[in-house]
């Protein structure tokens, strides 16, 4: 019984920390005015032409779908 009582402050602390953590879930979104870093050139997926060309080559070699990446339609005939 005594041992059970000693746990109460710990549980209370857990409740506070848990509440704080759950409350923090509401503020994790990047706001519209905070997106400056996301618009920089280094954030673009096509910033390196050579890497893009290699990725494209790998893609169509694997999928047998020339031009299937980035344009409408593909080799599968499903579009």
């Amino acid at each position: 019984m005594i041992r059970h009582r000693s746990f109460r402050p710990v549980l209370f602390l857990c409740a506070i920390v848990g509440a704080g953590l759950l409350g923090g879930c509401t503020t994790t979104m990047v706001q519209p005015w905070e997106r400056a870093a996301l618009t920089t050139y280094s954030m673009r997926t096509d910033r390196d032409p050579l890497a893009s060309a290699m990725a494209e080559h790998t893609w169509f070699s694997r999928e047998a779908a020339t031009g299937g990446r980035g344009v409408g339609g593909s080799g599968c005939g499903c579009n």
Binding site: A15, G20, G23, C25, T26, W33, E34, R35, A36, T39
Partner: protein, 170 residues
């Protein structure tokens, strides 16, 4: 941890989340717009007393913001004599980006920089750009989220005409 304790933590978390959500609620139509003189903004504010205010939140990295500038400049020129002030509020944190942008593009209406992003965080703009039309009583009359060309221009002019008609009627 017992089930009851877990439920207590979950409830407390949800209550806290709701409080955080309520405190950070975006500004809506009919709400009082924050007093601009009370916020540290870089740049000179134009005379706002008794004016209808059009506040446009923009950034140098935002493409649609640039597209909106000619229309805002026209509004500033056409409605200026009728007591409307267009004010651009840049949310750029880097001074050089803001200055370079102003050197490159001629912005034909007053603009200031919310370098600490305090005003924009208070207002909680839903998108970039967002234009707030504020009546002479300091309350938000319209919120134009994003820039959609002629549709946004028309909405802005309609709102301004309505406000100006109210103010001129006996």
């Amino acid at each position: 941890m017992s089930r009851r304790n877990f439920q207590s933590i979950l409830c407390a978390g949800l209550v806290l989340a709701a409080i955080v959500r309520a405190v950070a609620a975006p500004l809506g139509v009919g709400d009082k717009f924050p007093e601009l003189s009370g916020i540290a903004l870089e740049g000179k504010l134009p005379a706002l007393e008794g004016r209808v205010l059009v506040v446009d939140f923009w950034a140098s990295w935002c493409g649609p913001c640039k597209e909106a500038f000619p229309a805002l400049a026209r509004v500033h020129a056409w409605y200026g004599q009728r007591g409307v002030v267009v004010l651009g509020v840049s949310v750029d944190q880097k001074e050089n980006e803001y200055a370079d942008f102003l050197k490159k593009f001629t912005v034909r209406f007053p603009t200031v920089r919310d370098h600490e992003q305090k005003l924009v965080a208070l207002v909680q703009v839903p998108a970039m750009p967002t234009t707030y039309v504020i009546g002479r009583d300091g309350r938000v009359r319209a919120i134009l989220s994003g820039y959609h060309g002629a549709a946004t221009d028309k909405e802005l002019r309609t709102t301004l005409n309505t406000i100006l008609a109210e103010n001129s009627s006996p």
